[in-house]
Assembly symmetry: D2
Homo-oligomer: 251 residues x 4
Amino acid sequence: MTDVIKVAVLGASGRMGSEAVKAVESAEDMELVAALGSGDSLDRTDGAGADVVVDLTVPAASEENVRYAVEHGMHAVVGTTGWDEAKLDRLRGLLEEHPGTGVLIAPNFAIGAVLTGKFAATASKYFESVEVVELHHPNKLDAPSGTAAHTAREIAEARRSVGRGPSPDATESDPQGARGAVVDDVHVHAVRLRGLVAHEEILLGDEGQQLSIRHDSFDRVSFMPGVLLGIRTVGQRPGLTHGLDGYLDLD
Amino acid sequence: MTDVIKVAVLGASGRMGSEAVKAVESAEDMELVAALGSGDSLDRTDGAGADVVVDLTVPAASEENVRYAVEHGMHAVVGTTGWDEAKLDRLRGLLEEHPGTGVLIAPNFAIGAVLTGKFAATASKYFESVEVVELHHPNKLDAPSGTAAHTAREIAEARRSVGRGPSPDATESDPQGARGAVVDDVHVHAVRLRGLVAHEEILLGDEGQQLSIRHDSFDRVSFMPGVLLGIRTVGQRPGLTHGLDGYLDLD
Amino acid sequence: MTDVIKVAVLGASGRMGSEAVKAVESAEDMELVAALGSGDSLDRTDGAGADVVVDLTVPAASEENVRYAVEHGMHAVVGTTGWDEAKLDRLRGLLEEHPGTGVLIAPNFAIGAVLTGKFAATASKYFESVEVVELHHPNKLDAPSGTAAHTAREIAEARRSVGRGPSPDATESDPQGARGAVVDDVHVHAVRLRGLVAHEEILLGDEGQQLSIRHDSFDRVSFMPGVLLGIRTVGQRPGLTHGLDGYLDLD
Amino acid sequence: MTDVIKVAVLGASGRMGSEAVKAVESAEDMELVAALGSGDSLDRTDGAGADVVVDLTVPAASEENVRYAVEHGMHAVVGTTGWDEAKLDRLRGLLEEHPGTGVLIAPNFAIGAVLTGKFAATASKYFESVEVVELHHPNKLDAPSGTAAHTAREIAEARRSVGRGPSPDATESDPQGARGAVVDDVHVHAVRLRGLVAHEEILLGDEGQQLSIRHDSFDRVSFMPGVLLGIRTVGQRPGLTHGLDGYLDLD
């Protein structure tokens, strides 16, 4: 890899992809060598000398795109969803045959959101109570958000690791369900408000103190520092990394 | 009424009552002339020359206490619950016979909580979306809190008065109830955390903006400024006033 | 005025003006009959039959624009700055000669921001302590923001009206100025953060309780409901109204 | 050390000390064997068979207390202030002669506050902007708080470690100092409000996103989980540990 990282973006005309194109073009240590749409041939990536392929396409295409990248000596940074255990296992097998190649698959490129989940899980080991509130625009179809449910599971796992049970709750009467969803023993509340985008707050409480960690995402552009971090790091991390937190220095 | 207001506190050994005793004793413009427990005779109030009787007893005793006060020419400030429409009607009738006497019955003496409800209702006429979050200690038995449900109803009434319907909500999938309770078309969420006391936040959203109003009650002492305001004002407000907001200058 | 309000926008190519053009076009009860840029002749407004002129131009032009509107029988809604007392006095004089005509001059059309200021002033009469925090993007040149300074002055005036002095403060050592600016005896703090737009929070405290009122403005579009409210109301409010709060129902 | 940890509390009649006595008495895995006031002889600690000495006294006494503990084979958990580098160096020398003995000196036992500082420093490496707001009761004499200044320095050090400079700030006009104190290139704001105790919020911003971390301390009891963690851990950590974060599992 030369000093300047040569980058090919797949899914370049999508919402995330078009932001990634702009971000790569603005980064002084990167060069955009290819921007592919859905009909374009994958050989335009290695053909242009790409070091790193950024896959922001659709679940049906992502596995083949990554396979192509790995087999042609390119690292891959992947933001496409749909990577189940079977796909991940096949990818791990492929990477064993290409030991110098790195792949990052990140369900969430917002560094702030990833840090929020990590901090919440760490803190929840030391606090008696913890709940999650997510807030989104009112056009969202599902509740709670995938990010909030993921955070709840990270918290539950961290608490189990130190022998902590569920948060205390003496509620006897809640006829209308004000206490919200319970995901892996953690209460999760979903607020919908016009004007909001995507927000998550974790509330932790103990005798005499409270700790609150909140992430506000106002714009898709908030994912780009994470994408650029992935592009810069993936070449030094052979094998599969699942989750952007693997690239963050949390000490 | 002389310059210094002579005050009798009923229920003086209870949690609210003992705080009220301290607050009256500390107020320079008041004199505590009687502090009655549950077995004490009511004639110790007018016997001591009280101008105002503060009733912080129990639902079973409150109506008789207030009747005694009115019939003996004393104003009354009442924080006891259980005043239903039948009791209120009887009291209104009694006050017509005593046109110079004032009674304040206030379900909530925390000025901040009362202002929060009023502000939220006013603002909700101008915002597309509104939801209520209440947060309490984990020993609370019911959800949502009475205050939050009351706020939701105030909001709903204010919105109906200007022809606003429910807040927009596209949720199609919410299998675990993360969207919380719906009180009079307003979503209400209840959080329980060790270390908290009683807190309420109203979130309002519209295109490009959000308005948040939050009240935190850390201690029972937060009710005392409202009690003192009631004692100072009740003598100038003949008849029945229901709710502390009737004594607040909201302009 | 017919059922549909005919609107002319002055300064239609500016940032606020272009948003206003879109908002008027989207309102079912309005018709955009003229959109003027800086070189356009004012007779295109009454020439097109406008009921209401919206002035979103520059201080040097605004007074003449409003004079033209009033003299030609059109109401005016004005968001341009620079209206000092001399200009306002001349306008009041002119409106006396045109008793059926209304003018609204509003320094801030964000209903949420206006409500925030009003609520803060009202509440500050009942709380011992109050401070203001404003938060903006880091490209802002001045601190504190004009809105925050205005809020501080509204609060100070409200407190004086009930005989309340400054908030208590025992600070003896503050070598680096952490306590922020003091505007009319009210502490004002200015935060600058990448990713923010324009935000204001008023914090009120008393024994055992806190009240927080926060307004977040994420986008210029947040001013449009206020502009539309002005257009709809100005025809029923002859004379000069200064400040959007004059059109809000705060009860 | 047996299954139950035998604990001696020094400074047992002070504010922190009396809370520690209660906390140790309530802990099932501990036994309070001695509670010493200022006049009591130190030999009542090893005389009672203490495993761990908790020093919550005054700067003038703390060094001698800890020396006594180490020389008599007891571990020490120290919350007293005033440990400068000279004292720490002498203690390190002493501990080399007692290689099995552990001492924890913690300026802050509130686990939430310690986590807040750590999280803020970590996150500040990934965000363009960061500022600190601390909020306290109005009787506090100095601003900013020591905790906030410490957090600012931790943040500045973390940012320097990754080559990040100060947060962006275009402010040209700030005649009254609304931008607050600047501690090691980090802006720190101090709010004073009746009803508050001790609170700290770190605000981080980047394009399109914000991360907020807030710690609220309502009561001295919030320090006790940290004291108990120290008592439980100090026996397994020979040598000197400075700062409770050395005992926290931050992964």
